[in-house]
């Protein structure tokens, strides 16, 4: 009994300890403010070779989980910029659609040529330039998508074959699922392949999409593309950070960009897109 009473006293004290008052957080006034910068994004649209999105960066205090995302996007999209692509000595102006989208129509696809994107930044009036080489199209030699029934989940298995040419190549494979209403399910699952181990060979690669439970009726988009090394490195860095639930607790990182006087990536890769729909 005495021991039990003693335990109750200690329990009371331990509870007091655990619930001891937390100190008031201190204000912060010395964090540098991010200077807005133009952000270039390359879109992949069916039947359109070059489509660019133009936005600007925003400060960490400008938005958060409670922000009105649509209002934020309206503020970030940049329209009415004269944007050009130069290739093989020819200059092509991109057409500004709405919502910060710019479409390049009639631009020839010349494998091995360098495509130069240029415009004047409306944020600081400095020229923005980005270059990308058009790599040869390399698609799936074969693709097999199957379902893997485990005790608790139905997972998607991917088997793919690539006929890798002799030169150095880097590949990106994306798997994205959409539900019945074509709502996007999570972020795409990305596999990155460096042909250092299979240069010039027919390569078979197999993987399972973890922790994505397939539902009957889901549509599966699988795409692959032969990409430039700098974009491969950028995606690899992003993939390495996928466990960082809070970016602020990971290693600080300045992500690479191929945009001078701006951020983001301009790329010209040509994806091979497959759509898979299983029966009910």
């Amino acid at each position: 009994m005495i021991i039990k009473n003693y335990f109750y006293i200690v329990f009371f004290c331990a509870s007091a300890l655990l619930t001891a008052c937390l100190p008031e957080p201190l204000p912060v006034n010395n964090v540098p403010v991010l200077e807005n910068t133009v952000v270039v994004g390359s879109q992949e649209l069916p039947d359109e070779f070059i489509a660019i999105s133009l936005t600007k960066s925003f400060g960490a205090l400008d938005a958060g989980p409670d922000s009105d995302i649509e209002a934020l996007l309206d503020e970030l999209l940049i329209d009415s910029v004269e944007m050009f692509i130069e290739v093989a000595g020819q200059n092509y102006q991109l057409q500004n659609l709405t919502n910060g989208f710019y479409l390049g129509t009639g631009i020839p696809e010349i494998v091995g040529e360098e495509y130069t994107l240029s415009f004047i930044s409306p944020l600081n009036d400095k020229p923005v330039i980005s270059k990308s080489n058009l790599l040869p199209f390399i698609g799936f030699d074969s693709l097999e998508v199957s379902l893997n029934e485990t005790t608790f989940d139905t997972l998607i298995n991917i088997n793919l074959w690539i006929e890798d040419p002799d030169q150095k190549n880097w590949y990106m494979v994306n798997v994205q699922t959409f539900n019945d209403d074509y709502d996007i399910q999570d972020r795409p699952y990305t596999e990155l392949l460096d042909d250092i181990g299979f240069n010039g060979e027919l390569y078979h690669h197999e993987f399972t999409i973890p922790f994505r439970d397939y539902e009957p009726g889901d549509t599966i988009f699988v795409s692959m593309a032969n990409i430039n090394e700098d974009y491969y490195q950028f995606l690899k860095l992003r993939k390495d950070q996928r466990f960082s639930l809070l970016d602020g607790l990971g290693e600080p990182i300045n992500y690479p960009t191929n945009v001078e006087n701006g951020l983001g990536f301009f790329h010209t890769h040509q994806p091979d897109i497959r759509i898979v729909l299983f029966g009910q």
């Binding site: 039990k4 329990f11 300890l17 938005a63 958060g64 409670d66 992003r238 970016d247 300045n254």
Partner: protein, 754 residues
């Protein structure tokens, strides 16, 4: 007083022994001993031992120790009985202990080497402590040169170095993990420890392997004459130590243990707390004849977390859980022997730090094992040629085995974290050393050289490490000190730039990762005040570091085995000045320390190659430590600390780019220059009041209650920068949260002897 003597009556005869309290048999450190015929004064060491040369066995020694009755003992009597008890004039054991501390500051003044600080157990026990748990490591950070990391963490930073650049030794063996409870409490049970010393500059040649500091923790020597029990009961844990002579004056053992019991207590309220830690120490001391001593020490400590739950009772196997076991185990064997005018000390140690994590969720599981193990042997000789000249030399060898992150995974998670057997790495680290100590007139000096080497399968590294220290007495009260040392480090703990975890990997040098090294210059001036009761010292230092280790930008920190591509090396420098005013005697005791320092880093692959400030580049560091006897049985203690804010790299913005499938937007964080933002300055007041139980002459029990308040004015010590939403203004703002606020605690400490 117990004395173990030699029987030499020649010119080089020494009378040896150990000075202890008559009642408690506790050693009395740094007591003065006068050899009557020469009127020469000697001193006991930190464990109460002494060794005094004499020529005539009819001569006598006079023992003087503040708070004790003076005692005159003929040398032949000491040689015959070798047991003399020094009797206290003070009324309580606690008072004796307080007054016995007087010589700590004096020791620092008299030491040839700058940058050496000593903290005794009694001082640490008097300080206010987090949750009432006395902590040697946190007490050390109140001394100049050492700085805290994240609040509550047992990591600390010395003279601009990193946390892994501090060599923490327990009876000569490396302690790789110094923190329990994810670093909030140190692994050292105060009841099992005798003394802690910290060296931040002027390193002896026998020490090496880390760049910034040597923390030498010595176990308490078990009592040879009486059963002695001490312990403490706190809110988080309780501890006890039992010392028992096995053969009186020859062989004794100490067994000490500590455990948290919150898990057991809350179980009474049907609450499951799946965590506890424990540690245990065993010390055995065997005096082999008059000239030899053998000590065996054992330490084992573990942090254990074991959590499991059934997620859905209707689905077979739908369970989740995690078990986590992290701990050190250490064996040490030390053999001392006296040969004429030479002392030989042999150390053998086996130390291991490992952790095991087993997590499962439905049909997914991941098991992780990592460990580092040292098997070490060292031999040291101390040859005393004359009173003013001596030579220390020896060698050491450590066979180090490292298994970083052995992973076994199954289920879906194996697609993300595949099984990996890691790569076991073996490194043999060796050193030979020698140093010559001399004294001529007012000049004392130590000139030494340590040559260390690491041998791997495919390569090896050899590093010469000169060690020089001088002390010049300007007069009886002023001393000028200077030193130059080079240190090399062959194993690195790899931590995130933002925070450290107990599971951070220790990684040895390899073909690509070269040893770290540092050259340090120190210049110091010490002054005695008030007849030696107060010591004022100041030191200035400059340290240049090379081959420092960091993670490459953007490295995946989760169970990454690819250290070859993840680790990068660069340079650093640190400089500053340190001030200390210390008083160890009287009613008011304590110290005031101030450090002004700078430390920078330069890595080609970080921050675009530009120099940046280190994470814990704290410009100002102030500690005021006071103990005041307000009445015979009451003592008030206060610690106030001020630390300039640490450095941080917060996210300052984002930008959105189409994701790789262009089906959505990927938000990319933007960081400023590395460590360019300074967190708010931290300052904190800790208070404690100690009430000593009434001591009765016929009782051998001494007890005291300590009431502590940590962070008395509840000020946040920032650990990071968060972004918070303000509903009223519909806007976001930055704030710096702290971890621990005002925290009251109560503890009871006791001693008993029979």
């Amino acid at each position: 007083m117990m004395v173990i003597s030699t029987n030499l009556i020649a010119q080089n005869a020494f009378v040896k022994g150990k000075l202890v309290d008559k009642n408690s048999l506790e050693p009395l450190p740094y007591a003065n001993i006068v050899l009557l015929s020469k009127n020469a004064v000697y001193s006991t060491d930190s464990l109460g031992r002494f060794s005094i040369p004499y020529t005539n066995e009819t001569d006598s020694l006079r023992f003087l120790f503040l708070g004790y009755q003076e005692l005159l003992v003929p040398i032949h009597q000491i040689n015959k009985d070798y047991t003399v008890l020094l009797e206290s004039t003070a009324k309580t054991l606690q008072e004796i202990e307080i007054k016995a501390l007087r010589s700590d500051a004096l020791q620092q003044f008299e030491n040839v080497r700058p940058g050496k600080q000593v903290l005794k157990k009694e001082v640490v026990l008097q300080l206010p402590a987090l949750a009432g748990e006395p902590d040697f490591i946190k007490a050390l950070t109140l001394l100049p040169g050492a700085s805290k990391g994240i609040e509550g963490s047992s990591d600390f930073f010395v003279r601009g170095g990193a946390a892994d650049q501090n060599l923490v030794l327990m009876d000569g063996a490396t302690v790789y993990n110094t923190g329990h409870l994810f670093g909030f409490l140190s692994v050292f049970n105060p009841s099992a420890i005798g003394e802690v010393s910290m060296m931040t500059g002027g390193f002896p040649a026998e020490y090496g392997g880390r760049l910034s500091s040597i923390i030498d923790i010595r176990s308490k020597e078990p009592s040879m004459n009486r059963t002695f029990i001490e312990g403490g009961v706190g809110l988080i844990s309780s501890r006890i130590s039992v010392e028992q002579p096995i053969i009186k004056d020859k062989l004794a053992i100490q067994i000490a243990g500590r455990r948290t019991y919150a898990d057991q207590v809350v179980r009474l309220a049907s609450i499951d707390l799946p965590y506890y830690f424990y540690d245990m120490n065993i010390n055995v001391n065997w005096k082999i004849g008059d000239k030899s001593n053998l000590h065996y020490g054992y330490y084992r400590g573990d942090d254990i977390l074991d959590f499991s739950e059934v997620r859905d009772e209707n689905v077979a196997g739908d369970v989740a859980g995690t078990s986590f076991n992290l701990g050190n185990s250490i064996h040490t064997l030390e053999f001392n022997s006296q040969l004429e005018n030479m002392t030989s000390t042999t150390y053998l140690h086996l130390t291991k730090f490992d952790y095991k994590i087993n997590s499962y969720f439905q049909d997914n599981f991941i098991n992780v094992i990592a460990d580092i193990q040292d098997l070490g042997l060292s031999q040291k000789f101390a040859l005393k040629k004359t009173e003013n000249r001596s030579f220390n030399f020896g060698f050491s060898a450590i066979l180090r085995n490292v298994d970083p992150n052995l992973i076994n995974s199954g289920g879906e998670i194996s697609e993300i974290i595949p099984s990996s057997d890691g790569t076991t790495r073996e490194v043999t680290e060796t050193a030979i050393f020698g140093e010559w100590e001399f004294k001529k007139d007012n000049l004392e000096g130590i000139v030494g050289l340590r040559t260390s080497a690491a041998f791997l399968e495919n390569t090896h590294y050899v590093q010469p490490e000169p060690r020089i220290a001088f002390r010049y007495s300007l007069n009886d009260n002023y001393a000028l000190k200077a030193s130059y040392t080079r240190m090399s480090q062959y194993v690195h703990r790899v931590s995130s730039s933002s925070f450290a975890l107990p599971t951070d990997i220790w990684y040895p040098v390899d073909e690509d990762v070269a040893p770290q090294s540092a050259d340090q210059f120190t210049l110091g001036l010490s002054k005695l005040l008030q007849n030696g009761e107060i010591v004022l010292s100041t030191e200035a230092y400059y340290k240049s570091m090379s081959n420092l280790v960091e993670y490459r930008e953007g490295t995946n920190l989760v169970l990454n085995n690819d250290f070859k591509s993840a680790l990068i090396q660069g340079d650093g420098e640190a400089y500053g000045s340190e001030w200390l005013l210390r008083k160890d005697a009287g009613k008011l005791r304590g110290w005031l320390s101030y450090t002004l320092s700078w430390t920078n880093r330069q890595f080609d692959e970080l921050n675009n190659g530009k120099t940046f400030k280190a994470r814990y580049d704290r410009r100002h560091n102030v500690s005021i430590v006071t103990n005041y006897d307000i009445a015979e049985r009451w003592r008030l203690s206060a610690v106030w600390e001020f630390l300039s804010g640490a450095r941080f790299t917060p996210i300052i913005g984002y930008y959105g780019v189409p994701n790789s499938a262009t089906t959505g937007v990927d938000l990319i964080p933007v960081f400023p220059e590395r460590n360019s933002v300074q967190l708010a300055n931290a300052h904190r007041l800790d208070l404690s009041i100690t009430f000593k139980g009434k001591q009765r002459s016929n009782k051998n029990w001494f007890g005291e209650w300590q009431f502590s308040i940590y962070n008395a004015y509840n000020r946040a010590t920032p650990v990071a920068i968060n972004i918070v939403y303000n509903e009223e203004t519909d806007s976001y703002s930055y704030e710096q949260p702290g971890l621990i606020g005002l925290l009251p605690s109560i503890s009871y400490n006791f001693k008993f002897y029979k």
